[in-house]
């Protein structure tokens, strides 16, 4: 082994295999070992597939569902709408289980977390198996674990653990010799490296950097000149020189709430939509000020306890497909929810929006989720929006959707029950002898 600084850090990345499809298979045993695909909002395209579905057709991901429908039916593929409530609950449980293994965790996305392992004096391959088996037993989700001297290496290790069967779901790059690591890296394309997108891959290939090992050995200064400091940092990270820290999160639920009583009673849906849209955008602004992203949203409306009518205060909470702080996405969700809970003939006096399951800014996450594809652009838009509103506080720059009659109804015809968040949807036993 090469001589390395004694205080080199160690990180792990724990990532759920086919998170959405796996959640569905736990609670509906009939889906186990079956090809299952999960569809995005409005059943638009495939956003997740079980390993059985992947084996059948690798190219399902992100393709429009209507194109695949017939072919999938022939192959016996079972399609489901996204059940965000279920995935959000299972994601929370996943993080809770991981917190048994290290005090320092960064929740990176709904299905992956970084763990700081520096100073944990254990055979990490054995420890990784223990983490994997515990998650599987406690909450039923299959995961892979990768270890490395930087977050970039941990992520790469996780990729290897996931794709190369002989690793049995755990890959520890930190205990391998440099030769062993290099041999693995030589076989991987640069696109497997955290933060390297398709365009960057093309450019790297043109420069002759066509595998991870070549990127690792590239001159950092040249990379900075040709690309940017981010990729320069990636090169350093590939060499085991850690530049990215664990961004810890609070496991306890934090919330941001925006609500207000109306000047007069409101009984029209479009006015309520305007109100919750305003609160959504207000709460989002505060979310962005704290560099946080919300995983769940709660919308509530209520009539006045002083009115003669019986008290009516419906509340609706649901999980968002991926953590977001985008006003447009959250306002859309809020409007959808208020339509769901609205009841005609009631004079409402108050409305509000609460954002919860907050996680810190996720940094380099790319567009895994259909609706996040314009991430960079929308971040820029949000930033501009915040700046304008700061300068002109009395003329809020707001969404046109506030108060308009745009139809935005999420279609989730194929959604499974809320097995873990709704009393009436709990998984139910049958009497075997009476079948």
């Amino acid at each position: 082994m090469q001589s390395i600084p004694t205080k080199q850090k160690i990180f792990a990345l724990a990532d759920v295999n086919s998170m959405y499809a796996s959640c569905e298979q736990i609670f509906n045993p009939k889906l186990r070992d079956k090809p299952v695909v999960v569809l995005s909002n409005n059943d638009g395209c495939v956003i997740a597939q079980s390993k059985e579905a992947k084996a059948l057709l690798e190219i399902y991901m992100c393709r429009p569902w209507f194109e695949l429908k017939e072919e999938a039916a022939k192959l016996g593929v079972i399609a489901l709408s996204s059940n965000y409530e279920l995935y959000a609950d299972m994601s929370n449980r996943f993080v809770q289980v991981l917190s048994q293994f290290t005090p320092r965790i960064e929740v990176y996305s709904i299905d992956e977390s970084f763990l700081e392992m520096t100073g944990i004096n254990k055979d990490l391959t054995v420890y990784g198996q223990e983490i994997k088996n515990t998650v599987k037993q406690w909450i039923g989700l299959p995961i892979c674990v990768g270890f490395g001297h930087s977050k970039t290496l941990a992520k790469l290790a996780n990729h290897i653990a996931k794709k190369q069967v002989n690793f049995n779901g755990v890959c520890d790059l930190s205990s391998m010799t440099e030769n062993e690591v290099d041999t693995l890296m030589e076989k991987l394309s640069v696109s497997k490296v955290w933060g390297v997108g398709r365009k960057m891959e093309e450019k790297l290939n043109r420069l002759g950097i066509n595998n991870v090992l070549r990127l690792k050995r590239a001159d950092p200064k040249r990379i900075r000149d040709e690309f940017n400091v981010v990729l320069e940092r990636t090169v350093k990270e590939l060499n085991g020189d850690s530049h990215l820290e664990i961004e810890e999160t609070f496991l306890e639920a934090k919330q941001i709430m925006s609500s207000r009583s109306f000047g007069k009673r409101i009984d029209a849906l479009n006015e309520l939509e305007e109100a919750v849209s305003y609160h959504a955008s207000n709460a989002c602004e505060r979310l962005r000020q704290q560099n946080l992203f919300a995983n769940a949203i709660t919308v509530f409306i209520q009539n006045s306890p002083f009115d003669k009518a019986p008290y009516h205060g419906p509340i609706y909470t649901f999980g968002l497909p991926s953590p977001t702080n985008n006003t447009m996405q959250i306002a859309k969700a809020a409007i959808w929810a208020v339509r769901k809970i609205f009841k005609a003939g009631i004079y409402f006096q108050k409305a509000g929006v609460m954002l919860s399951e907050l996680v810190p800014q996720a940094g380099q996450q790319m567009d895994i989720f259909g609706y996040n594809s314009d991430n960079e652009k929308s971040q820029l838009l949000m930033k501009t929006m915040d700046e304008i509103n700061k300068k002109f506080p009395n003329n809020r720059f707001k969404l046109a959707s506030e108060g308009t009659k745009k139809t935005w109804v999420m279609n989730r015809d194929l959604k499974s029950p809320n097995y873990t968040t709704d009393w009436k949807d709990l998984p139910t036993t049958i009497n075997h002898s009476r079948l």
Partner: protein, 161 residues
């Protein structure tokens, strides 16, 4: 003015008092809060204050491992465990982290169906037994190579009457 009168005479919905917080914390009223003003002295602390306890929470009593605990419902026509007090429609608290030992009540998946049974395992023979003498449901003995998935151990069942 009418609002003030209403305040005094009507009991208000809890949600209003709590400022419409969603999922508000339990409004566990302590036995006594504050000081008793007695004459010119600064006051005595209530003698009850030392005995203040948190309100009993069923979650704490019934759920020992939060992430690994899942709730299941006993099917309406599933009377297979009634001798154990697990009635049709009961809510079951299932801990996936516990090791299923022989004699324990478990939730299993067999041939794609969710069942609740007593687990018996001896000398390599695994059996799932119903607990209903009157109906005398046959035991399910697992054949070699047949896959049994134990979802978790039932730690409590809650029946409603």
């Amino acid at each position: 003015m009418s609002e003030i009168r209403n305040l005094a005479t009507n009991s208000l919905p809890l949600a209003y008092l709590l400022g419409a917080a969603f999922n508000p914390p339990l409004l566990a009223l302590p036995l006594y809060m504050g000081k008793v003003s007695a004459g010119r002295t600064t006051g005595f602390a209530s003698p009850a204050q030392d005995y203040e306890q948190e309100r009993l929470d069923l979650n704490k009593r019934l759920v020992s491992n939060i992430p690994a605990t899942f709730f299941y419902t006993v099917g309406k026509s599933d009377d297979s465990m009634i001798d154990d007090g697990i009635l049709p429609g009961a809510l079951m608290i299932v801990n996936r982290a516990l090791t299923p030992k022989t004699g324990r009540t478990v939730v299993v998946v067999l041939n794609g169906e969710i069942l609740v049974k007593r687990l018996y395992s001896r000398a390599g023979v695994v059996e799932l037994r119903s607990m209903n003498k009157a109906m005398n449901y046959p035991n399910i003995r697992l054949n070699e190579g047949q896959e049994l998935i134990i979802e978790g151990v039932v730690t409590h069942a809650v029946n409603s009457y």
